[in-house]
């Protein structure tokens, strides 16, 4: 399929000059995230749509509250702007499809003062196929992580441009966090001692998936002194107690040095969840004293109230560098209850 420019319906903005004039025009039009974008020429957008095998008018999803239609053309334009490669398009289609699901609550989560960002978790063969980073500096930038950086960025540009999620207007984040620029990681399935996340969600190991979570910024935590699972999780529990009780889902990204303790000791994910859930518990009186969720919500004062509504609410992901005793706890927006994470399969059939 080779599309022609006439197939594109978006308004054209004429640029007189060269690349720098086009970059400036995108700033003037309010189309950026504050960083320069790749100007979305007709040629580049058609290249992306041709690779994906989609017509520009194909509807990828409709945001359910305000009825904004996300077409393949708009996904492609924002993907070009973010600096993506054409082969990233199926990932972005899956992300858009996930975010418009009513249970994800895209409008509420992106408008909230809570300032969360969509965290993308990539699983399956697509991780290697598209070279998503899983190791050192997993949340950070680098010349080797075009996939992580630009796929995450394309999602933010879609929120800004397709959903008008502008700060102070429809994005009422009090603070926000740096993940709002780009927040995309891949699980280190190769080195993990556990079953991959997408397999827990019911997908086959050979499937490629993306899961979208509404998340606050990562809280880095570490346990240095005692190389045991109990020590790692006791430190994690102490950090978890910084949240309000009643969390339905919290993420724990565990790096390789700590994973090794659990592998050596033979701890399953179930055992990790149960230990952490029991450790991260306070009485209702203690929660109230810490100004976390008023007493009427917590019941009797001496009743133990765990941070997690259930142990299964801990999402345990292997990721991060091979050295360094650091993990990351990532709280979810609205205690994970107002927005459910959604996992979608990625169509890799057209990828090289």
């Amino acid at each position: 399929m080779t599309l022609r420019p006439e197939a594109l319906v978006s308004e054209r903005v004429e640029i007189e000059g060269g690349l720098s004039e086009a970059v400036e025009m995108c700033y003037q039009m309010g189309w950026t995230d504050g960083l320069p974008v790749v100007p979305p020429t007709e040629e580049k957008v058609l290249q992306f749509l041709d690779f994906a095998g989609r017509n520009p008018s194909d509807v990828i999803g409709v945001e359910p509250v305000r009825g904004r239609v996300i077409t393949a053309e708009k996904v492609a334009i924002n993907a070009v702007m973010a600096g993506c490669l054409p082969e990233y398009m199926p990932v972005l289609f899956a992300v858009a499809d996930a975010m418009v699901k009513p249970e994800y609550n895209l409008h509420g989560s992106s408008a909230s003062t809570g300032g969360s960002a969509p965290l993308l978790l990539i699983n399956g063969p697509v991780v290697h196929k598209l070279k998503f980073a899983t190791g050192h500096n997993i949340f950070g930038p680098g010349p080797d992580r075009r996939a992580n950086a630009t796929v995450g960025r394309a999602v933010r540009l879609m929120l800004i441009n397709v959903l008008e999620n502008h700060p102070g207007v429809l994005d009422r984040s009090t603070l926000g966090h740096p993940g709002k620029y780009s927040f995309c990681i891949a699980e280190d399935e190769e080195n993990s001692p556990w079953e991959p996340f997408h397999v827990e969600r019911g997908f086959s190991k050979e499937a490629s998936t993306v899961t979208v979570f509404t998340c606050s910024g990562p809280w880095q935590l570490g346990s240095v002194w005692d190389g045991t699972p109990e020590a790692v999780l006791t430190a994690a529990a102490d950090t978890l107690l910084g949240l309000n009780p009643g969390q339905s889902e919290v993420l724990l990204i565990m790096s390789r040095e700590h994973q090794g303790f659990f592998k050596d000791a033979g701890w399953s994910k179930t055992r990790v969840r149960e230990f952490l859930s029991q450790k991260a518990t306070r009485t209702a009186q203690e929660w109230a004293a810490a100004q976390k969720a008023g007493p009427p919500e917590l019941g009797k004062e001496t009743e133990p109230v765990p941070v997690l509504q259930s142990p299964e609410g801990l999402v345990l992901i292997a990721g991060g560098g091979s050295g360094g005793p650091w993990d990351a706890l990532i709280p979810r927006w609205g205690r994970g209850a107002n927005s459910h994470s959604v996992t979608m399969e990625i169509d890799t059939s057209r990828m090289p």
Binding site: L8, S10, E11, R12, V13, E14, I15, E16, G17, G18, S20, E21, A22, M25, C26, M29, W31, P39, P40, T41, E42, V45, V65, R66, G67, R68, V69, I70, E73, K74, I77, N78, M81, N105, H107, G108, S109, A111, S112, T113, L157, N161, V162, L163, E164, G334, N338, S339
Partner: protein, 99 residues
């Protein structure tokens, strides 16, 4: 550097809002004999604020009644059944958005 005579197009990445043909409801001249609906967004103290507003109104007007509803989840639109109830029972509705 502007390259003399060079022109090319870039594409607009935005989506426009769908035009809405909604018309504002006619406002009553006064609230005597009217039923006022109060729709809380579910945030802490929203009920207190709305009660204070209706109390001020009642200083001036003799209302027929007050209907109080709470949509519970502040991050989602009001459910249709609540909208239907407000339409059926109320002459005016007061709501607010905020934290």
């Amino acid at each position: 550097m502007v390259v003399a005579g060079a022109k090319f197009n870039i594409l607009n990445p935005t989506v426009e809002a769908i035009p809405d043909n909604t018309v504002l409801a006619k406002r009553p001249d006064d609230l005597n004999g009217k039923t006022v609906g109060l729709l809380s967004n579910g945030k802490r103290n929203a009920d207190t604020l709305l009660d204070a507003v209706v109390s001020l109104i009642q200083d001036t007007y003799e209302l027929k009644g007050v209907v109080r509803l709470n949509k519970g989840d502040p991050s989602r639109p009001v459910p249709k059944h609540m909208l239907d109830e407000l339409l059926e029972k109320c002459d005016v509705v007061i709501t607010a958005t905020g934290d």
